[in-house]
């Protein structure tokens, strides 16, 4: 055995962001006991920012694994950590206000949020399938609890049970896929599997079954078409800002993990796999957008739109290596606008009694700032320039066209038009609907105001200067993936 105490110290320094977040999570538990409740969101947010800083502080390393090939610490990993931590920070802007409005002082949420982000970081940067699985389960368990958080409400109960049972079911499939891959190659380490790629092609039936089961597990987590059924119910039962987190952070981690695995296995050479992903992408885009048009409840509308957005990201994934930057970029932009939209729905939820769309009539006059912010997020989600949503969709489509998936890109553009319809319909309702909203109108307090302002500025900034995120992404990736630079 190659045990060396010095190694452990070195490795611990490499995974410093994870260890730091763990310390923050434990500190939050302690603060809960000591009744220091009011400063918990602040500490959680600062801790997440600190972890992000710790991740990008060291010099850029091309690709390197810590803990004997368990977790990737170089390559794209530092940026993943920053993005995942930011999704947590954005959520924390809206969470305290929401819990206060709902009269449910559940302070353990912040600890669980930190633990969920640790799981996401592990999963996104795993270089061993065992770590992928453990990371997935870490954040899944936290998300099951988030779904069932309001335990006195039946909607929340049902969301929790549904998400839990289907999530555990999907994990079993994922695990069977990992097991078959292990049986085939003799390794669970991705680099070892990639080094023994000839074993994969020796037995294509077993390989496709294993990777198919693996993809099924992931498609469930990102709510792609055949496994999307839980999404609207779970999102509408989950506390709204946490539903936003569920729709963004976990999907970002799952997409990065899936993309890493597929690219390590060099999946674009197997047409079958690309076709399966392309089919899931097409059906998700069409189904999500078409069904969203009929929705009258905002949370369900956002849930169906999140199914559609999953389709767009899958479209980028089909492009292989060249599309991976576009996938991460898309997920980051989607994180910004979706957490913003869910956060605003959460603010309005208490004032307007529920999340019904008709209640939003006339808000454009009653609450001009609120309506303007919501319109901005919706325009961005619809992919209208100059907002960031346009740039992210553009990158994904360009990547798809660049890899020869013209049909996919065309379907993507056509379904974006349907999407624009229902997003803009909501804006029309807010500004031109008959004034039926009650006298009280949704208001920002300083945290939510700050959060919405920050997200809105980011949307505008990244819409005009997308290279602010794309450039670092390409730089961090340049060690291993150089073909991307040519594609843009």
């Amino acid at each position: 055995m190659n045990f060396n105490p010095g190694d452990i110290v070195n490795f611990s320094v490499m995974v410093a962001p994870i260890l730091f977040l763990l310390a923050v999570g434990l500190m939050l538990m302690l603060m809960d006991v000591l009744k220091a409740h009011s400063s918990m969101p602040l500490i959680a947010g600062l801790g997440l920012i600190g972890a992000g800083v710790l991740a990008v502080l060291p010099e850029k390393i091309s690709s390197m694994q810590a803990f004997y090939g368990m977790i990737e610490v170089g390559n794209i990993a530092p940026l993943n950590i920053v993005f995942l931590c930011l999704s947590g920070v954005f959520t924390i802007f809206f969470l305290p206000d929401y819990l206060k409005r709902q009269d449910k002082p559940i302070y353990e949420v912040y600890t669980l949020l930190i633990f969920a982000i640790i799981g996401m970081i592990m999963m996104a940067n795993a270089s061993d399938l065992l770590i992928t699985f453990i990371g997935l389960e870490t954040f899944s368990i936290a998300l099951y609890v988030f779904a069932a958080l309001f335990k006195k409400e039946e909607t929340s109960n049902e969301a929790g049970l549904k998400y839990f049972l289907l999530g555990a079911f999907a994990s079993a499939f994922l695990l069977l896929g990992i097991s078959l891959l292990y049986g085939l190659t003799g390794y669970t380490n991705l680099n070892d599997i990639a080094a023994n790629a000839s074993k994969l092609t020796d037995n294509p039936a077993l390989f496709f079954t294993s990777i198919g089961l693996f993809i099924i597990g992931f498609l469930f987590k990102v709510s792609a078409f055949p496994f999307h059924n839980w999404t609207p119910d779970v999102y509408s039962g989950t506390p709204t800002p946490l539903a936003g987190f569920m729709a963004t952070g976990s999907k970002m981690a799952a997409f990065i993990a899936l993309g890493t695995v597929l690219i390590k296995l060099n999946f674009t050479q197997y047409d079958k796999l690309v076709n399966v992903l392309a089919l899931a992408a097409i059906l998700s885009m069409i189904y999500g957008n078409v069904v969203a048009v009929r929705q009258k409840n905002l949370k369900r509308l956002l849930a169906y739109s999140s199914i559609a957005h999953t389709g767009y990201v899958l479209l980028g994934l089909c492009a292989g290596k060249a599309g991976f930057v576009a996938v991460i970029f898309y997920m980051f932009i989607y994180t910004i606008m979706n957490i913003g939209a869910f956060g605003l729905v959460g603010i309005a939820e208490r004032t307007l009694a529920d999340t019904d769309m008709d209640k939003w009539k006339g808000l454009g006059i009653k609450a001009p700032y609120f309506a303007a912010a919501m319109s901005l997020f919706l325009f961005s989600m619809a992919g209208i320039p100059p907002f960031a949503g346009f740039m992210s969709k553009y990158q994904v489509f360009i990547a798809a066209i660049g890899s020869g998936q013209i049909l996919l890109a065309v379907i993507g553009i056509l379904t974006s038009v349907i999407a624009a319809f229902y997003y803009i319909y909501l804006i029309v309702i807010m500004y031109f609907g008959k004034n039926e909203s009650p006298e009280v109108s949704p208001r920002f307090d300083w945290t939510t105001g700050l959060g919405v302002g920050l997200l809105a500025v980011l949307i505008l900034l990244l819409g005009i200067f997308p290279s602010l995120v794309l450039q670092p992404l390409l730089q961090y990736m340049s060690g291993s993936i150089s073909a991307v630079a040519a594609a843009f």
Binding site: Y68, M70, L112, T138
Partner: protein, 169 residues
């Protein structure tokens, strides 16, 4: 054929059939308590199969953790909540479809497992002992070993949030 190999074959078939019977019992028993007991039978026979693969330590852990701890938790909750038998157990179209789906899935797995036909699993298995497993746990698998604590802690906190009585509505 030596006595050893006859014994090995008998051992395998005994636990394989017992395990599958336990699984079938789980999905056919109306009473949740009976279903849980069937699952315990299944877990014991899986431990037997581990023994026949000479994974002794894992067999012990299987009985201690799964049959001992997790299933006791299940039984405890079932009895605490005093669950009734499931109603409406007759065979309908959806159940038929589910059965066909399971059968198809089994066929697919059998088809891909065909390539392992004749691969021997008899012989020494050093990883069945405690020592090599402990060595692995503290070297190559140190990171997952540390991080599994996060999973357990998150589950603990989560269970407390959901199950404890709060003062709020």
């Amino acid at each position: 054929m030596t006595f050893d190999s006859i014994f090995q074959i008998a051992f395998f078939w005994f636990f394989a059939i017992l395990g599958i019977a336990g699984g079938i019992g789980l999905i056919t028993q109306k009473n949740p308590v009976m279903a849980a007991l069937s699952l315990i039978l299944n877990f014991f026979s899986i431990a037997g199969l581990y023994l026949s693969l000479q994974a002794e330590f894992l067999a012990v852990i299987q009985i201690l953790v799964y049959a001992g701890a997790i299933m006791v938790l299940f039984l405890f909750v079932i009895m605490l909540l005093n669950m009734q038998d499931e109603q409406n157990q007759q065979f309908d179209v959806m159940k038929g479809l589910a059965f066909l789906l399971g059968l198809g899935f089994f066929g697919e797995l059998l088809f891909v497992f065909n390539s392992f036909m004749g691969k021997s699993v008899s012989g020494a298995f050093p990883l069945g002992k405690v020592e090599p497993i402990g060595m692995q746990m503290m070297t190559n698998y140190l990171f997952p070993f540390e991080m599994i604590s996060v999973v357990l802690l998150a589950a603990l906190i989560g269970a407390i949030i959901i199950a404890k009585k709060h003062s709020y509505k």
